[in-house]
């Protein structure tokens, strides 16, 4: 079973939640789903991040019972739903609160589905809707998700995986996405703009990791993005 097969099966199994208005797939699977035919060739992690706007939390909760056929909430961290079958990926629920500062984070507490709300996800807005595994899935606009990946402090292996997701988004971004990125970047306060550029320099110097895409062939793209954000548009 390929990674794509597992991703598609996971989306099909999580369909009731994914089709709830306002819910977005965020995180590492977005570049995979943005590839033509959702080819899913950029494997950096084995999970599906589901962004739930806190304003839609109650509506999403109503669908959780339908997901219990295929997943079960982790006792240690109930926002993580582990698959009952090895042919599915883990589902991680994360909170989106457009009113929060991008550097903020808080816990939206709930007995059934607590959420860690990442302020950086306030930079994410809804983009295209695609059909995968019989489910209609809403993806974020690439520019916002790219900025979310770059504005967040990244450390360790998880941080490197997130930067590879940013690279995947950068590789699939079109001119309009880059213009949107410029505009959103310019609205950030200086400290966060610095964080974005700093993370791009870290991304530029990443070493390849076993089983993940080699970032080195894309270093020129990263350098171009840095120059672009610094205002030196070629």
């Amino acid at each position: 079973m390929t990674f794509r097969d597992r991703l598609v099966a996971t989306i099909a199994a999580a369909r009731p939640v994914l089709e709830e208005p306002g819910v977005l797939v965020v995180g590492s699977e977005v570049p995979n789903l943005l590839e033509p035919g959702a080819a899913a060739t950029l494997v950096v992690s084995q999970d599906l991040d589901v962004g739930v706007p806190v304003s839609r939390h109650a509506a999403v909760k109503r669908h959780l019972v339908e997901m219990m056929v295929a997943f079960t909430p982790s006792p240690e961290e109930p926002s993580v739903w582990t698959p009952r079958s090895p042919e599915l990926l883990e589902v991680n629920f994360v909170g989106i609160d457009p009113s929060r500062d991008p550097a903020d984070a808080y816990v939206f507490d709930d007995d059934q589905l607590p959420l860690l709300v990442f302020g950086a996800l306030s930079l994410v807005t809804a983009g295209v809707e695609i059909e995968v595994g019989g489910a209609r899935v809403r993806l974020p606009r690439p520019a916002g998700l790219l900025l979310e990946k770059l504005v967040t402090d990244r450390t360790g292996e998880k941080g490197e995986r997130d930067l590879l997701v940013a690279l995947g988004l950068l590789m699939t971004a079109g001119p309009a996405d880059l213009e949107e990125l410029d505009a959103a970047y310019s609205r950030l306060r200086p400290e966060l703009r610095y964080a974005v550029r700093s993370n791009l320099t870290v991304l530029s110097l990443l070493e390849p990791r076993l089983g993940m895409p080699d970032p080195r062939p894309q270093r020129a793209t990263v350098a171009a993005a840095l120059r672009r954000l610094e205002g030196d548009v070629p």
């Binding site: 109930p78 860690l116 400290e191 530029s204 070493e207 350098a223 840095l226």
Partner: protein, 117 residues
């Protein structure tokens, strides 16, 4: 109810505090690492060269990157065209990353990327 999530939120806020401190220090020693990474990000390749070869490049007009002078011991870091570096007998290619080779080098020549269309 959600100690694991509370712990992760605390850790995330702590990292933000550290990052804010690093940002305030960006014009001091702490900021050197960003500046060095920023210079290396523009390099398609890196070479350690002999002091006299680095001096020759500077004499030819290659700009010395200021970040090298912020380090101790100081480094001479210059960009030069790949064709020019190919004529430097002492040039030894090293990985473009913050690894031992780059950190130990005292005379480093970087080649730029061709500008993307």
């Amino acid at each position: 109810m959600t100690p694991a999530l509370e712990r992760r939120a605390r850790e995330l806020r702590a990292r933000v505090l550290v990052r804010s401190w690093a940002y305030r220090q960006r014009h001091h020693a702490r900021g050197v690492w960003f500046k060095l990474r920023r210079v290396l990000a523009e390099a398609s390749a890196a070479f350690v060269v002999a002091p006299e070869d680095a001096a020759a490049l500077v004499a030819e007009g290659c700009r010395v990157e200021p970040v090298g002078e912020s380090l101790e011991p100081r480094k001479v870091i210059v960009f030069a065209a790949a064709e020019r570096v190919a004529r430097i007998g002492s040039a030894r290619a090293v990985p473009v990353r913050l690894g031992r080779d780059v950190l130990e080098a005292q005379h480093l020549v970087l080649t730029p990327f061709d500008l993307l269309p």
